[in-house]
Symmetry: D2
Subunit: 366 residues, 4 copies
């Protein structure tokens, strides 16, 4: 019911604003006995951390996580884990302009419409900074998955930036960590760098598509009909700031397929059923097939741009606004570790739900 | 927590299998005093009902809804409303083949992998027939919206079938109810009829994209950061059978936009803020802007086709299967009323959530 | 979130009014593969059924349960189970008086205050008849417990009626099913029969205390700090009509104990830890100890009595009311099977929650 | 679903262990625009704070609360409020004994049985220290109630300590804050001081009964049939450490009443319905009547006592244990502010739920 929480058995509530003293994630329901340290979580936060290259905001935040509860002598105890991240780069800049004028494309106006009050500092709760808490929770989820379902491997990467798509014939997973865009295509990385440089210099921004693949997911995770694995993944991804579309497997392209093309034929392999293709994205009827689970989501361009835009003030007067400050020309870049974190949380949650109702680890054939 | 339920304050649990005695929706949390009759709900069910033209399954089901509780003398009492639909066309056909062989693209294999048991009659719980219960619940949600937020108007229609898109310059909402595809484009309806006839005769099927627009939605509905209105709409749509992608506003296309293009500039109109465009799909930061809420989803082609496909049996032996029977060549057609119903449920739920936390009807400017 | 539902993984939503066409329970999350038939559930309903002796209401209801979904060939499938009970004895009696006047001690006035509308027929949703749905759901929970935790045995009985207490030195469990009061004390049964006869003839009624004991509950069920097993049992019992108090173990009497008396000392037995006493009622820190789980609850006297009471009408005018009709002089009698059913549901739910988070069946010592 | 959370729209998750770095409450769903400061919350924490007199533990904790999120310029923003309390008096005492031996009456053994791991420092999560987080959340709930339902007044006090009951003919609310026991009876306070001194010196402890009264609660709060106001109050109170029984109105004593005695007759007063008595404790059918809501709960004696008790070690060996350290001879004393806090949270939550479903502030007569 909680609006700032997600998950059922592995339940994550994030809290905190961009420029308040701290933000964090309260994680309830983590299995006990999972080995975890602040360093284990920090490595995931460091991947998302801003200021690492010229394509992400120059805000300097160490994003150092503190574990305040739920862990004793390096193991989770099964009680709530509080993951706290202090905000250190809270520049006392003048936010009076955005307190009065609504920035187009931002949530300033809707928070005001809803609550009649808001924390305008750096976007407050609607800031992309909130996603740091998700990444921290995802780090804990990954640690639990590593013990409960060690075959699960989650990999996220960018497949599109503006009009530029990767060439799947050049797909090379080892490239992902070697470029600032998490692109699995060395040539694309070079081209996109030029493209994004141009946008950045002109004060513009652009959208992107992120793809995530989870391999090693046991067959049987998910449930009818609103607790479907794809339903929960779609919600998890759509809840990330700036996401406007989510796809599973063939995604929106499924509309163009015929039934003959779309059928992933089944055969028996050494470790269980195998499929001739994966239009389903690893999910049928909301339940995992044992294939790779494939999710994509589109991130809109950063709304903070240097071109002046028309807007209104809180009192309804016409105005213009330019969003100065430190911003990402392609906020999709930093969405990669966030998407991975959300996927880890959803998979762990459904693993626990499955064993709660069914009592095993999933999969009955082979 | 319930896997077969959705919504928070307006909470819908659907139950029932395709070929069991009945199916239905248990709706908890409906506001009291809402005028409702079985006929009010029946009109929405009739739009979804199969067998109305040659493009939908020839299964003959009256889909007659009975209200078993929660309504007294034509008004909701605020207690749970049980909406029951009997299955009447339960042909005692031989389902031994699909009890043994898994149909590619269907949930047969995943239900088996998960539960180790399933109801194979007509797909059981994973049948599209489950969506009748959602449409019934949606009918109740619409009745409540009509009293609580009478300006809200929800319209769904098809915008793509296979490779064919509507021509938005010909968009005519009055056409939607005049053709079997719910297409707002008279010429498209004619062309698509030929196309789909061809597919149907060859035993093939095709996917589609449905678009839904809700106008009159007050600004302020939704909540950070997992109870976002777009998160909940994405989940609601992805939970519909055969849906593989969901978009809000610009959707996946947001990836191609630059920040300059994407910014929906704001000005003050007579009834509140107005926007120069609606790339946001009526939602910013997860909260409604007061603009039209625009959602699209892609439905994969019907998996039941006449071409033989390779598969395996429950014991893992190789096999072939042809899915005979009464099927829709484009299951996307019947997804239109289902999508509308889900949208009605989500909007009502968030209207109630908003007034629970905030105490008003949303919107503070103008 | 649903107000008419309880449980987390084993989730029961009841619906229906006393004199509507039917009532029932929608059960989501039942483990698959559980053997169940209508007869298995009927046996529990028959224990609660009214009209079996002169001490319970003479309303004649067969309370025949129908399983409408979630079961195939005698086994649960893991999908929602709909348990429907038709109301057959819907006397078309004149309920205009209770539609206008509020019966003291009944929920007439509060439903009106809350909803501004209500179903006055036989008490509508607030009727004790609603508990039939709980007993049906409890029957399913018992079937699941029988397979997942076969050592669990749940026994309820009356320990107090009005001023009369059982003599625990005469406690004989075999007596429980032999008298109309579910009293484990043969002599008490005889005395109480006379006492209740007197009350019944004078049109009066009386309260009672019910005790429930679950043996064979594995150590480890429950969770901090609001999902405690005792918290959930307290909620389950307090949710039963007319219950005004709930006790675990020493209960309210714990206030009179000193720490020296209260400490249940621990020793090691052949099957695990043993305790010198059970003031804790089998629960420490909200988690089961492996001892018997002991719960008691007090049921107030039936509010429908033949003595005229002062009241007001809907418009606030002073009035008098006598509640005629068929009523139980001690509604506590029929609360015994209801309490057992609620206990079965809570224990099953926590068994599933435990194995979801922890992955085993509970208990680590011995 | 979250096991460490309670509430629906006003949702509180507590986290943290007795001797970890900090503990706190994550509160989601607070209405926006509520005036709140750390001092407003601190005043409630100070009432619960240990070490204030010789009858509570001598642990010295300032229990200073920090608001880390959800408040801007002294007003709640409607986003999650993080209330953090640092643990400062974390004596590095040797906890090796309780890490190996289970203290009778404590949750040591059940946490071990459940999780196979636990934080033994000071009881970890099962420590009464967890209730500080509840009191902080309750402080926020009180601030919201003060604006939304200013007539609501919540008062808790002790009515029984061991064998000693207050004399209700001497009831004087002004006495409550004047003695260390929160007793509304000046003479009782004097007598009980002597009694408790004796127990304290002998290293023994005793239980207590706390009563709480909320006046000014609007009629109409609560819901059938598991979201009943009394159900939720019972759960809230039973979730407090060491509570073994909960009563509403007449409570367990309702068993001794006849229907004639129990009926709270109704008449019309100047501000709405009035009742001749309040056996119902202000709740009928789970919904508030507008009368005072009356709840009592029994707290068992502190389990930490100086008399040696028999126990076992983690490996099952027989042992003896004496619980040294700083303990409350009557933990019930500090339960008073905790019970009040839980009551505030439940009432606010149901106020929000009511206006969510119904859209008004409750009450339709008069």
């Amino acid at each position: 019911m909680s609006m700032n929480a997600f998950g059922h058995l592995f339940r994550v509530t994030t809290w905190g604003e961009s420029h308040g003293p701290a933000l964090g994630a309260t994680v309830d329901g983590c299995p006990p006995g999972i080995s975890i340290s602040e360093a284990d979580i920090q490595r995931w936060l460091d991947r998302r951390r801003p200021g690492q290259n010229k394509y992400t905001t120059q805000r300097q935040e160490p994003d150092a996580v503190e574990i305040l509860s739920g862990v004793f002598e390096g193991k989770t105890t099964g009680t709530p884990v509080q993951l706290l991240i202090r905000n250190t780069d809270q520049r006392s800049k003048d936010y009076s302009e955005i307190a009065e004028k609504f920035r187009p494309g931002h949530a300033d106006i809707t928070y005001w419409q809803k609550y009649g009050i808001r924390d305008p500092r750096g976007g407050g709760r609607s800031s992309a900074r909130e996603t740091a808490a998700r990444v921290a929770a995802g780090g804990l989820a990954r640690a639990a998955l590593a013990e409960l379902a060690p075959k699960v491997k989650i990999t996220g990467y960018m497949v599109q930036m503006g009009p530029h798509h990767i060439d799947r014939s050049r797909f090379d997973a080892t490239e992902i960590e070697r470029n600032p865009f998490w692109v699995p295509d060395r040539e694309a990385a070079v081209e996109w760098a030029d493209y994004l440089d141009g946008l950045r210099k002109s004060g513009n921004s652009v959208g992107a598509v992120i793809e995530m693949v989870a391999s090693g997911v046991p067959a049987g995770l998910g449930a009818p009909v609103y607790g479907k694995l794809d339903t929960e993944l779609a919600a998890a991804m759509m809840s990330i700031n700036a996401v406007k579309g989510v796809e599973i497997g063939a995604g929106m392209g499924a509309a163009e397929l015929t039934g003959v093309d779309n059928a992933d034929e089944i055969s028996m392999g050494p470790d269980g059923p195998e499929f001739s293709s994966n239009h389903a994205g690893g999910i049928l009827g909301g339940i995992s097939t044992g294939q790779e689970v494939v999710v994509r989501f589109a991130v809109k361009p950063t709304s903070s741009i240097l071109s002046p835009r028309k807007t209104i003030t809180k009192s309804g007067a016409a105005a213009e606004i330019v969003t100065k400050g430190r911003h990402d020309p392609c906020v999709g870049i930093r969405a990669v570790p966030v998407g991975e974190a959300m996927m880890a949380c959803v998979l762990l949650d459904h693993l626990l739900l499955h064993r709660g109702q069914i009592g095993d680890a999933g999969g009955r054939i082979g």
